[in-house]
């Protein structure tokens, strides 16, 4: 069973966001594999252990993304593909999905896995769009996956509960926290990773022109939130503090 994992490199969730010249400043920021994509990698590796086959990690991004792909290879994925092109500075989700679709089309696959959301732009779009572009069924936010032959049974999170679905593969599934516990890359894995293939492709390699991936959305204008400030602290005995708080929530904040 061959599996493609769509990976995005994101800022560490601890990262402080700084704007420089109206852009998000990546200087000195720790970058990591998007945490939800780690669940996708782990699930792919578990399936590989069960059914055999190869796991290919595919990503769109700059030079730095190679380190994240290498980490995925150290975890046990077999090869990586990075689409790295200078024209990709300001692409939107539509374009990334189209590029991934072209890249994935060159790889034999039975299943595509991705994280349900990227913790940077939080848009939750690319994997679902990729499914549409490849004309594959998709299920978002899965918590459990069983595969038998060409049939997948998945449990996905819905508001207020869960839902069990059956679908044929190939398909695109996005991973929610709870699907598994991602492994750490082992020391042996790290040593082996550098010998594995990491293919770097340009748009031209995929037969895409810059015009083909012109954004459907405007370039975002970034701003920082006005920081919240410390408010009132209650005083007195615990009972007095509770009473004061209840009163303030009712009369001042008017939220109770």
């Amino acid at each position: 069973m061959n599996i493609v994992v769509s990976l995005k490199q994101t800022f560490d969730t601890e990262a402080k966001i700084v704007l420089t010249g109206g852009k998000i400043d990546a200087t000195g920021v720790n970058v990591v594999i998007n945490p939800y994509d780690e669940f996708a990698i782990e699930e792919a590796l578990k399936l590989k252990e069960k059914f055999g086959g190869e796991v290919t990690v595919v990503s769109v991004g700059g030079d730095k993304v190679e380190a994240s792909i290498r980490t995925a290879l150290a975890m046990g994925c077999d090869q990586g593909v990075l689409v790295n092109d200078p024209t990709l500075e300001n692409v939107d989700e539509w374009a990334v999905a189209e590029i991934l679709a072209k890249a994935v089309a060159q790889i034999p696959y039975d299943l595509i896995l991705a994280g349900r959301i990227a913790v940077d732009d939080g848009s939750s779009q690319v994997a679902v769009r990729l499914a549409d572009s490849l004309n594959l069924p998709s299920v978002s936010s899965i918590l459990k996956l069983d595969i038998e032959g060409d049939k997948a049974t998945v449990v996905r999170e819905i508001d207020g509960g869960t839902e069990t679905l059956e679908l044929s593969i190939p398909a695109v599934l996005t991973a929610q926290k709870g699907l598994n516990e991602p492994r750490y890359p082992s020391m042996m894995g790290i040593m082996k990773a550098k010998k594995k293939e990491l293919k770097v492709l340009t748009l031209a390699d995929l037969g895409i022109s810059a015009a083909d991936v012109a954004s459907k959305m405007s370039a975002p204008k970034f701003s920082l939130p006005t920081p919240r400030t410390a408010g009132k602290k209650m005083s007195g005995e615990p009972a007095e503090q509770a009473a004061e708080l209840a009163k303030l929530l009712r009369e001042e904040a008017k939220v109770i």
């Binding site: 380190a67 750490y184 082992s186 020391m187 042996m188 040593m191």
Partner: protein
């Protein structure tokens, strides 16, 4: 000259740090309190390859360099020095002498399962009358037929009781002094080999420290490590490399305490400003950072010597002495910055300060390190 880690080292550091933060740190306080050895964490370390970093792949090791090893011990010790020394003693003091002095058969039989962490290793050199001075070794080995019979005891043995494989030294010919000492590989469960006192320690309390007792222990002749009379040399070489592990442990303790102090100083306010805004605290933090960086460079230089197969003794002794002193200075300052809170067990710097002390004592006291350094610089 390049002052940067390569991509593998960066990935290794991140992996061990993630593992340490997520799996090791949460229980460190409780394990210290209860003196509980973490068998589960040991297993996980083995699965991640942390038990055999520097050994070649042909013996199931990772085949990585000493920098990778130092990073491993440093990152584990940053959150839990006890686990750091467990891995260090296992790798440096048991697996390494077998790798360096063992026969091919010994390496296949003993090193391979040590490198994967399937088996744990320990090293028995110290005795009640042979501390810094190994010539006081009272444990004896007598060759009878195709066996050696061992009698005596060893004290303060890290990983004792839990380890499966022990490298021990014993005196075969007292008249030859150090040249009468031999080293042996001993398996747990061998009749006559038992464990005595479990030490109650000031620090590294969740690492196991036991007395080993030998009463007519029969060891097959093939378990002689190196040659008869080579035991002292094996022990000294082992310690030359082992000090890289302890230096890394000390460095990790210092780094952990420094980070705690740095974080606290930014959060804690007194006199209307954070501690980090006070020059007196800034100077403390700067001194801590300077010492740590210097220690790290010395540790990595010792690793470089080991990786290049250059003489390591002087550098590992320097690194161990300096990093050990640094750990004690930095943890003490960290407790000072945290003040009353730092002195309580609600904050990890209290444990770190207790853990730091041993790094000036074991695998050669820091006084002995200076003897080693002096001997090296005076011999030219």
């Amino acid at each position: 000259m390049k002052f940067e880690l390569n991509d593998d080292h960066i990935m290794m550091r991140k992996m061990v740090r993630d593992f340490a933060e997520e799996e090791v740190k949460p229980g460190a306080e409780e394990r210290d309190e209860e003196e509980k050895f973490p068998m589960d964490l040991w297993k996980k370390c083995g699965e991640l390859g942390l038990a055999g970093v520097t050994f070649p792949e042909e013996y199931n090791g990772v085949g990585a360099d000493y920098i990778s090893y130092a990073i491993t011990i440093e990152e584990l010790s940053r959150v839990d020095a006890s686990l750091g020394v467990t891995i260090s003693a296992h790798s440096s003091l048991c697996a390494n002498p077998i790798y360096k002095f063992g026969t091919e058969a010994q390496k296949q039989k003993y090193l391979a399962p040590l490198a994967t962490g399937e088996k744990m290793g320990a090293f028995g050199l110290t005795e009640s009358l042979a501390g810094s001075d190994a010539s006081g070794t009272r444990t004896t080995a007598v060759k009878v037929g195709d066996e050696y019979i061992i009698n005596g005891s060893k004290i303060f043995i890290t990983n004792g009781y839990y380890a499966d494989t022990y490298v021990i030294t014993a005196q075969m010919d007292k008249s030859k002094g150090n040249k009468g000492i031999a080293a042996f590989i001993l398996e747990k469960g061998t009749p006559g080999f038992t464990f005595g006192k479990k030490e109650k320690k000031m620090g590294i309390r969740s690492s196991a420290t036991y007395e080993l007792v030998f009463e007519d222990v029969h060891i097959p002749a093939e378990n002689l490590l190196g040659e008869e009379g080579q035991g002292f040399k094996i022990a000294m070489t082992t310690l030359d490399f082992g000090r890289i592990g302890i230096a890394s442990q000390a460095l990790g303790i210092a780094q952990g305490a420094y980070e705690e102090a740095l974080k606290y100083s930014k959060e804690r306010s007194q006199f209307g400003m954070t501690l980090s805004q006070m020059p007196v605290i800034q100077f403390k933090l700067a001194d801590m950072a300077i010492q740590i960086e210097a220690a790290r460079l010395l540790v990595y230089q010792a690793c470089y010597m080991a990786d290049q197969h250059l003489p390591v003794s002087k550098y590992s002794a320097m690194a161990k002495a300096f990093a050990g002193d640094t750990a004690n200075f930095v943890t003490s300052e960290a407790v000072q910055i945290l003040g009353g809170y730092g002195y309580t067990r609600d904050y990890p710097v209290e444990r770190m300060m207790r853990d730091a002390k041993i790094t000036q004592i074991y695998e050669g006291t820091n006084e002995i390190q200076r003897v080693v350094v002096a001997a090296n610089i005076l011999k030219d």
